[in-house]
């Protein structure tokens, strides 16, 4: 019952949580903003004078910033593409009646529970290493030159690793959505003369639209801040070919000890993430409230 009294009571009771969360968010945000306007380098201690927009200027005009932006976009876009398409196909497969369905479904979900650093290392050392990796052995067995993944196709390799981690998430959400589709609709379409492809396009895909939206929104938020996989595999290299925005901020503040510059990068990242979020909400939000 949403009477006025109960609404007021509800507000009162959630206020401690809201205050706590606000403080939790506002304090670091405020500090980051504050640092971003200071000359604050740990290598040259002393006064930390206020320097206005200078940190922002240098961060934005740094050539590695442009590279990082492009890499971030490619990383997010690539992983989204692979996981949404792959996840839809996996979900269609897993929706078929088959023997050992329960076990297979749990196994498909498994990669999601592997920590990012661990999966990065496992892929780097056990699969993609040109000397010891399984792919290297396979290539040799087939009489081909082993591919040195992280020096020749570094970004693609990372996209692949991250996709492997997020595919289960997409699969799980899309499978659940697929199972909630009314079977009679599919049968009606079959009676109406729709082939499997037509049924997929005209019945299943529209039904999945909402779930796909959810997958894209949630994944984008997490994919913008991919870090561990890059740190343990390529360290952002070779050059800046796998440096994304998160990694660039890490480089500025923790490798070059420039707290001011790092903070400026952080603020820029926050602004960009919010722009992306608003953009996504606008674009696909319509889908959600339909």
């Amino acid at each position: 019952m949403a009477t006025n009294a109960s609404r007021a009571a509800a507000r009162l009771m959630i206020s401690p949580a809201v205050v706590l969360l606000l403080g939790w968010m506002l304090v670091p945000l405020g500090l980051t903003l504050y640092f971003s306007f200071l000359r604050y380098n740990l290598i040259t201690p002393g006064a930390n004078p206020f320097i206005g927009w200078e940190n922002y200027y240098w961060f934005l005009t740094d050539p590695s910033f442009k590279a990082a932006m492009i890499n971030t976009l490619l990383l997010v876009g690539g992983v989204l593409l692979i996981t949404v398409i792959g996840g839809t196909m996996m979900a269609l497969l897993l929706d078929q009646p088959m023997w050992g369905q329960g076990v297979i479904r749990i196994m498909v979900i498994a990669p999601f529970f592997v920590m990012p650093t661990v999966s990065g290392l496992v892929w780097k050392n056990m699969f993609m290493n040109p000397v010891n990796g399984i792919f290297g052995h396979l290539a040799l067995g087939l009489g081909m030159e082993p591919l040195s993944f992280f020096s020749e196709i570094p970004l693609l390799s990372i996209i692949f690793i991250v996709s492997w981690q997020w595919l289960p998430f997409a699969t799980l959400i899309l499978l659940t959505a697929l199972q909630s589709l009314d079977q009679e609709q599919l049968e009606a379409a079959e009676m109406d003369g729709a082939t499997w492809v037509s049924r997929f396009i005209h019945v299943m895909l529209p039904h999945l639209a909402r779930a796909i939206t959810v997958v894209i929104l949630i994944q984008t938020i997490f994919l913008l801040s991919i870090f561990a996989e890059i740190l343990v595999t390529t360290n952002g290299g070779p050059g800046t070919s796998t440096t994304n925005l998160t990694y660039l901020i890490y480089v500025s503040s923790l490798l070059q000890f420039d707290v001011g510059m790092g903070s400026a990068g952080g603020v820029i990242a926050i602004i960009l993430a919010n722009i992306v979020a608003i953009f996504l909400m606008r674009m696909i939000g319509k889908n959600l409230d339909a």
Binding site: D182, E184, Q185, E187, A188, A189, E190, M191, D192, G193, A194, S198, H202, V203, P206, H207, A209
Partner: protein, 334 residues
């Protein structure tokens, strides 16, 4: 066009035989109703005809052509589902046009046929709405619209009215009957409601546990039920079935008498009983009468304004020419 024959068709799910081998002939233009209690295999039988389930044995012949292995879409049949199964993200127009689109009918032809169907079904004002914005009865009509634009050889209906309220149900019942009169297309209609069966059918198929108990016109089933199951299932309220010495007096194991075929008198009669609950319908009144020697109360019909009350003693006499006699296996004795 729309002659459907089932030849020794049976269906098992795993090793459970839901439908033992049956034969059935549905003539072109007939309105055939499958009726039976819930779970007796009516939907399964309809889905076998539609091709949504594969037969376990036997064959299905449509218009002289063996359709047993033919895909559902190629059988030339259209189905209206219990849940309507409309496509929720498409407008009414697109829903109705969908089968035409799948058949690659030209765009202007599609539009003409959709408008035509909408006009017949009173949907013209709703063509641009989504199914979610329609009432139950309107959704039902969209589902029918989607079926008629294909100009099928036969329509298959699976309990199409069971999600509607009582008043709408009566209205839609008339609309479907009218549609049948106009189109003269074969219709196969599944229901668990014997009133729907009686009012709509040219031919009723009574099913029990997948077995066809009797096939006939509504009046044939009413007049000459072949066994106690059909006798009890067809007719409202149910036929009174009496066993024991009263049946033995008529050389039968069971005798049946419909509520409308019992004479009520305050003087004397074959049975003497006490009036229990009465149901006043205005035109008629149904009394539930407890008779001393019978295990179950009898239902009898009297005029609408008969002055009888709870606890009154009355005398009942069945009309002998309307008495149905059944043997110990429940089969009719002629």
């Amino acid at each position: 066009m729309g002659h459907i024959q089932l030849k020794q068709v049976s269906k098992s799910f795993g090793n459970i035989e839901v439908i033992p081998p049956i034969d059935l002939d549905i003539d072109d233009g007939q309105f055939v109703v499958f009726v039976g209690p819930s779970g007796c295999g009516k939907s399964t039988l309809l889905r076998l005809i539609a091709g949504l389930e594969d037969v376990t044995t036997g064959s299905i012949v449509i218009d002289g052509r063996d359709a047993t292995a033919v895909q559902p879409a190629r059988r030339g049949l259209a189905m209206v589902f219990q849940s309507y199964a409309l496509y929720p993200h498409m407008s009414v127009r697109k829903n109705i046009a969908f089968p035409l689109k799948m058949a690659r009918v030209p765009q202007d032809e599609q539009e003409r046929l959709v408008e035509e169907a909408a006009r017949v079904l009173n949907l013209t004002g709703f063509l641009d709405r989504r199914p979610g914005q329609l009432s139950g009865g309107q959704r039902q009509r969209v589902a029918i619209g989607r079926a008629i634009v294909r100009e099928p050889a036969a329509f298959l209906f699976d309990e199409p009215l069971s999600n509607l309220d009582a008043a709408l149900r009566v209205g839609m019942r008339l609309e479907i009957s009218e549609l049948h009169e106009r189109l003269k297309t074969t219709m196969v209609y599944v229901t668990h409601d014997q009133v729907e069966a009686m009012t709509m059918a040219d031919k009723i198929v009574v099913l029990r546990a997948g077995v066809i108990e009797q096939v006939g016109t509504p009046l044939e089933l009413y007049r000459n039920p072949q066994n106690t199951f059909v006798a009890g299932f067809i007719g409202s309220p149910r036929m009174n079935l009496v066993e024991g010495p009263d049946a033995a007096r008529h050389d039968a194991h069971t005798v049946g008498i419909r509520p409308e075929h019992v004479d009520v008198s305050s003087g004397s009669g074959m049975w003497t009983g006490t009036v229990g609950v009465s149901e006043h319908l205005g035109s008629d009144t149904f009394f539930h009468v407890t008779v001393k020697d019978l295990s179950q109360p009898l239902t009898v019909r009297a005029g609408g304004e008969v002055d009888l009350h709870y606890g009154d003693t009355i005398h009942l006499t069945p009309k002998l020419n309307h008495l149905h006699r059944f043997d110990d296996r429940g089969l009719r004795i002629t």
